[in-house]
Symmetry: C2
Subunit: 374 residues, 2 copies
C-alpha cells in the first residue's frame, strides 16, 4: 500500500494537506545544512562521519556521504543494520555492543559491508569481541571508547592504555583508534563555558593520544564532537573526525543554545492540525506526547498560529495552543508547523519524513532506522 | 525476515536473551488484568469499550473483546485503520476528525467495518461529516464529545444540545450518544479528590442527558471513564460504558496514584542491558529517551539491579542506574527490567511486544497501531 500522503507528491501547495501529525523536512534548509557542515570540516582539515542517530534515514545518509562524509555513525546495532540494508557501506556503531547475540549480529554485519567499526570500553567485552570476530573469519575494527568525564560510556583516560593494548594484540580485532563524545557539553548555553569544558576534555584526549603514540600504539582515528561544539572541537587539535548529528535538522533546544542565532537552519518541523477550538484563546491540535519527544520541553510554533502563541502538551494524543484572545480565532482544520524540542527522539516516533520545497511535497522518505534501538 | 528475537520463542529462560531495549509483557498479569476489568464492568452493569491507544495491538484488542468488551476505542484514525486491518470490527475513534481528507478515510473505514463511531464537538465539522457520509452512502454513527471542564476537546454542556440537534437531524449521520472523558482527573493522587472531581464532572453529564431526554433526543450511549476512576465513574450513574485503557499494562505513574497498592498488576516492562560499568555504583544501560516516553518521569527498576537502585535518563540512547557501591557490581551484559513511567507513549516507541510467561518467550506481537497518530 502506498504510504499515507503519497498522493500529494508533486501537487503545488500539497504540503498543507498532509495527514497530521507529520514530520516535515524543509529540503532547501536541509541541503544548506549538509553543505555547510561539509565545508566546515574541509576548512578545518577534519573528516566528517555524521551521526545518523539523528535522522535514521538512508536518503539523508546518502546525501551526507555525497557531500564528502566518509560514512556515518549509528547509535545502535539495529540502526546500523537498517542503514546497511539500504546500501550504506561505512558505519561506526558508537554505543558498546556487549552481549553474545549482539556480537553475532555485529560480525554478521561486518561480513556484509565494507567498512564497519564498533566501540569497546571493557577488557572482558574486548575478549568476547575477539572470539566472535575470529570465529567469523573477518577482522573487526574497534575504536576504544574514552570517557570525557561524563561517566556514561567509555574507559577513563588513565585506564585506556591497558584496554588499547588488549585490543591491539587481539588476533580477531583491528585497533583503529579512539572515540570520545562529550554528550553532556553539547547544550551548555554559555558559549564560553561550552568552549572551556570541551577544550579541557579534548586536551585530556590529546594527552592520551601522545602517550599511546609514545608506547607505539598511536590511534589513527580520533572520532568525536557534536553539533553544539562543532566550531570548538577542531581548535583542540585532538580529533581527526567529527560525529556531528543534529546540524542536519536543528531543534528548539539547539536554537536556544545559540540564543536565536544558530549556525544551522531549522529544517525539521512537526505539522499538526487544530481539531478542537471551543474556548477563546485556546486550540487543541492532534500532536501530543506521541508526536514529540518531551525530554526537552515544549515545541515552538513556527507558523499557522497568531504571533506569540505558546504550544503546550495536552496529553498523549493532543497539543494545546494558547494565544491572544484578540487575535484571529483558530478553527478546526487550521494547520500549524512546530519546531521540535529535540530532533533525534522526535524523528524516532515517525515512519516517514515529508520532504517539502516551497510548499510542494517533493518526496516521502522512510525512516529506516526508526525504533531500531536494539 | 523474522522479527528480531523470534528464534528465542519457546526456549526456557529465553526471555533473558532478548535483544534490548525490548518491550516485555507479563502474560499472566495481562490476562488477570483483562479478566478483572471485564468482571468489574459486568458487576457494575456497564459495557466495556477498552481504549486501544494504550496497546495499539490487534492481539490484545481481540483478547479484550473475547473477555466481553463490545469493541475498542482508538485515539486516531490511523490507529483505527491499523486495528481494522487486523480484523477488529467495532471501533470508536475518540478524537475529532476534522479535515476533508480525514473524513474521506473515515467514511471509507465505515464502509469496511461493521461498527464504526466517530466523535464531533463542532457544528461546522458536523456539517462536513454529514456531506462526506451522504456521499459515501452509509450513515456514520456519531457521539457528541462533551468537555468535562478540561478544555481539551468537547463542546460545553451548555452548548451541547444545539450540536446534538444538528447531528440528530443530519441525513448522513446517526446520533448515537455522548462521549465525555476526563483525562485531567485520572492521575489525581488523592483518592478523595479524584472521586469528588470525577463525580462532579459526571453529574453535569447526567444533567445534560436528562435535558436531552426531555427534548426527545436522549443519548443511547454515554462513553467515558479511565483507569484512574474505573471504580468511581460507575457510581455516578451517568456512563453506559467504560473507555479504560491503561489497566491492561499499568505503569509507574498509575502505581503512584494508588501509592503502591494498585488495583491492577504491572504487566509491561522495558527490558534493558548494561552496556558500560566503569564507575563504582553506576551502570549505563541501552534504554534512554528512545526507549521510554519521558513525560512522566523516570522508570522504576523492577529486577536485575541491587535493591534501591535508581534509574535515570542518560540521553537519547542510554539509561543510568545509580546503586549502592557496597552491592554486587553490575557488569556489561547484565539484564534489568523496568516499570515504564507512562505506558501509552512508551508502547508507541516499539514495533513489537514480547509476551513472556515464566521467563519463556511465548509469542511476539506486532504493535500494529504504533506511530499511527495521523
Amino acid at each position: 500500500m502506498a504510504p499515507l500522503n503519497a498522493d500529494l507528491i508533486g501537487l503545488a501547495g500539497g504540503a498543507a494537506e498532509l495527514a497530521t501529525p507529520a514530520l516535515v523536512v524543509d529540503l532547501d534548509a536541509l541541503e544548506r545544512n549538509i553543505a555547510a557542515m561539509a565545508a566546515h570540516a574541509r576548512r578545518c582539515g577534519l573528516a566528517l562521519r555524521p551521526h545518523a542517530k539523528t535522522h535514521k534515514s538512508v536518503e539523508i545518509a546518502r546525501r551526507q556521504i555525497a557531500a564528502g562524509a566518509l560514512g556515518v555513525c549509528c547509535a545502535k546495532l539495529g540502526e546500523a543494520e537498517a542503514l546497511a540494508e539500504g546500501g550504506i557501506g561505512a558505519i561506526l556503531v558508537t554505543s558498546p555492543v556487549v552481549t553474545g547475540r549482539g556480537m553475532a549480529r555485529l560480525v554478521a554485519l561486518n561480513a556484509r559491508i565494507a567498512d564497519l567499526m564498533a566501540v569497546c570500553d571493557d577488557i572482558a567485552v574486548a575478549a568476547r569481541f575477539d572470539a566472535a570476530a575470529q570465529a567469523a573469519g573477518k577482522p573487526l575494527r574497534i575504536l576504544i571508547d574514552i570517557d570525557p568525564g561524563m561517566g556514561r560510556t567509555g574507559v577513563s583516560v588513565a585506564e585506556a592504555p591497558a584496554l588499547v593494548r588488549s585490543v591491539a594484540r587481539a588476533a580477531g580485532l583491528v585497533y583503529a583508534g579512539l572515540q570520545c563524545y562529550a554528550g553532556h557539553l553539547q547544550h551548555i548555553e554559555s558559549s564560553g563555558e561550552r568552549r572551556n569544558a570541551s577544550l579541557a576534555a579534548l586536551k585530556d584526549l590529546a594527552a592520551l593520544r601522545d602517550r599511546l603514540a609514545a608506547d607505539g600504539i598511536a590511534p589513527s582515528i580520533l572520532s568525536g564532537g557534536g553539533t553544539g561544539t562543532f566550531d570548538i572541537d577542531p581548535d583542540a587539535g585532538a580529533l581527526t573526525e567529527l560525529q556531528v548529528g543534529s546540524y542536519v535538522f536543528m531543534d528548539r533546544q539547539y536554537n536556544d543554545v545559540w540564543a536565536g542565532r544558530p549556525p544551522f537552519e531549522t529544517a525539521l518541523y512537526v505539522q499538526t492540525t487544530v481539531i478542537s477550538a471551543n474556548r477563546a484563546g485556546l486550540a487543541t491540535t492532534d500532536a501530543g506526547f506521541k508526536a514529540f519527544a518531551t525530554d526537552a520541553g515544549a515545541p515552538a510554533v513556527a507558523s499557522g498560529a497568531p504571533q506569540g502563541a505558546a504550544y503546550f502538551f495536552f496529553g498523549d494524543e493532543q497539543g494545546g495552543v494558547a494565544y491572544d484572545e484578540s487575535a484571529r480565532k483558530l478553527a478546526p482544520g487550521d494547520v500549524l508547523r512546530c519546531i521540535v524540542p529535540h530532533c533525534d527522539p522526535t524523528v524516532n516516533l515517525y515512519d516517514a519524513m515529508h520532504a517539502v520545497r516551497a510548499e510542494t511535497l517533493v518526496e516521502i522518505w522512510p525512516i529506516e532506522g526508526r525504533g531500531r534501538s536494539a
